[in-house]
Symmetry: C2
Subunit: 253 residues, 2 copies
């Protein structure tokens, strides 16, 4: 079971969009996927149609089994642990406990081993306890990057955070993929940003890029991943290619 | 002196872009503008070319005068109080103090009254102490909304937060403007979102909308507001119109 933290503290770069659409594309290709929504704003939960005020909160607060927080979604092979604004409270309460960043890791370790092939964790736009919990609980980090200028600035801090978590909390953690998203091939800006990503991260940057498409932005309004909302769209094809590439990468490791 | 918190906990909706470009357009029209960057990711500070590790931190931590944290920028009539990652530490430390949300308000109250006409505060993508500090310190809130589906979901929580701060900390606070941004007039989605904003917020929604334009996304890479980087672009015109409209609104109040 691959555990992947989808993280980037810069806001609006496509973390939630990646988790939902890549998750759905992996599910379509026969993988069993569990999405864990760690963002108190619960965008992934709302998109997948299942919000539950206390499910994940109980795991952090009272040590409830994570399996009890899992909900089915309308997408075959895709389950969800929903978030809610209660997670802000859980984050605040946990910071006073020793080893709070390890709560989620222990909870994930207790999940049945053969029920899912992938766990994708959606992180909030901040480097704080919820993000550190995901980095401690996962083996891999996938960083979505909106191909604009401002999102590049935060990558140094994010890399340092990954290194620190690897050193102190989770030796297995590695940056396994950078996914260029909202790529507008018509502009030089997107091409320059992709080039600079490849210079900085080498072949960690996925070959597949996700193009800018209004279909992606419309999909949450229909509570469907773009692979179901607009199955023949070129951007749905992008996510399918990204899923296939991402899955092949693990086989190669 | 108008004090305006530019806030929206949803990530990537254009808070920083609004503060820098609307600020620069107001400055161009002869207003004296002070930008206060409350985001530890310091995107506005990096864009305006001035990062200072401890300036604002000292105000929160040790009660240093805010005026000492003010820096000139390369834009006439536009000054900046820069942020840095130290603000994460200041936020964490302050939560244990009584009345921490009022630290910034008192600091702003001590600024000279006749040096600036506008203060624009850039908030981080979370409803936490730094955002509450801005809401406590300001008379007005401007909410930038990216015209897509997911940003709409957070507006209920944001409105509740504004009401709560108004009730408990700052009776003068009011929502004075909602600015539709990254509007892509070619898509039905943008039009539908703008319509839904007008239904919900009435004439608080500004007539002026900011169009989607690659010039805006390029401007931070040149460390210039779009009104200087691409002065004849249609999006620079949008910001000038927004500045004129926003300034006229105050006269009308
Ligand atoms: N390929 C794309 N084409 C068009 N729009 C996109 C694309 N990817 C994401 N978006 C839009 O960009 C915005 C930001 O995406 P999203 O909310 O997934 O980012 P995020 O990183 O999860 O944000 P946050 O930091 O708030 O959690 C959304 O409105 C989304 O619909
Ligand atoms: N009108 C526009 N046209 C094109 N791109 C835009 C426009 N406005 C903002 N952007 C781009 O959208 C992205 C998000 O904008 P910005 O960083 O200002 O949002 P934010 O709300 O401050 O994000 P955060 O939540 O991370 O603080 C940036 O890459 C920016 O360049
Ligand atoms: Mg998100
Ligand atoms: Mg910002």
């Amino acid at each position: 079971m691959r555990r992947i933290a989808v993280a980037n503290q810069k806001g609006g770069v496509g973390k939630t969009t990646t988790v939902v659409n890549l998750g759905a594309a992996l599910a379509e290709q026969g993988r069993r996927v569990l999405v864990i929504d760690l963002d108190p704003q619960a965008n992934a939960s709302t998109w997948l149609g299942t919000v539950d005020a206390r499910a994940l909160y109980e795991v952090f607060e009272n040590g409830a089994p994570l399996e009890k927080a899992v909900r089915a979604t309308g997408v075959d092979n895709l389950d969800l642990v929903p978030s809610s604004s209660w997670m802000t409270r859980a984050e605040r309460n946990a910071t006073t406990q020793a080893g709070a960043e390890m709560i989620l890791r222990q909870a994930v370790d207790e999940l049945p081993h053969d029920q899912w092939d992938y766990i994708l964790m959606d992180c909030p736009p901040a480097l704080g306890l919820l993000c550190y919990s995901a980095l401690a609980a996962c083996n891999e980090v996938l960083i979505p990057v909106q191909t604009r200028v401002m999102p590049l600035a935060g990558l140094v801090a994010l890399n340092q955070t990954i290194d620190t978590v690897k050193l102190r909390l989770n030796r297995r953690l590695r940056l396994s993929a950078v996914l260029a998203s909202q790529v507008d091939k018509r502009t030089a800006l997107s091409r320059e940003v992709v080039e600079s990503l490849r210079e900085r991260f080498g072949d960690v940057v996925m070959e597949t890029m996700i193009r800018e498409s209004v279909r992606v932005a419309e999909a949450p309004g229909h509570r469907l991943p773009v692979t179901i909302y607009a199955p023949d769209s070129s951007v749905a094809h992008d996510y399918r290619a990204a899923a296939a590439e991402f899955h092949a990468r693990s086989a190669a490791d």
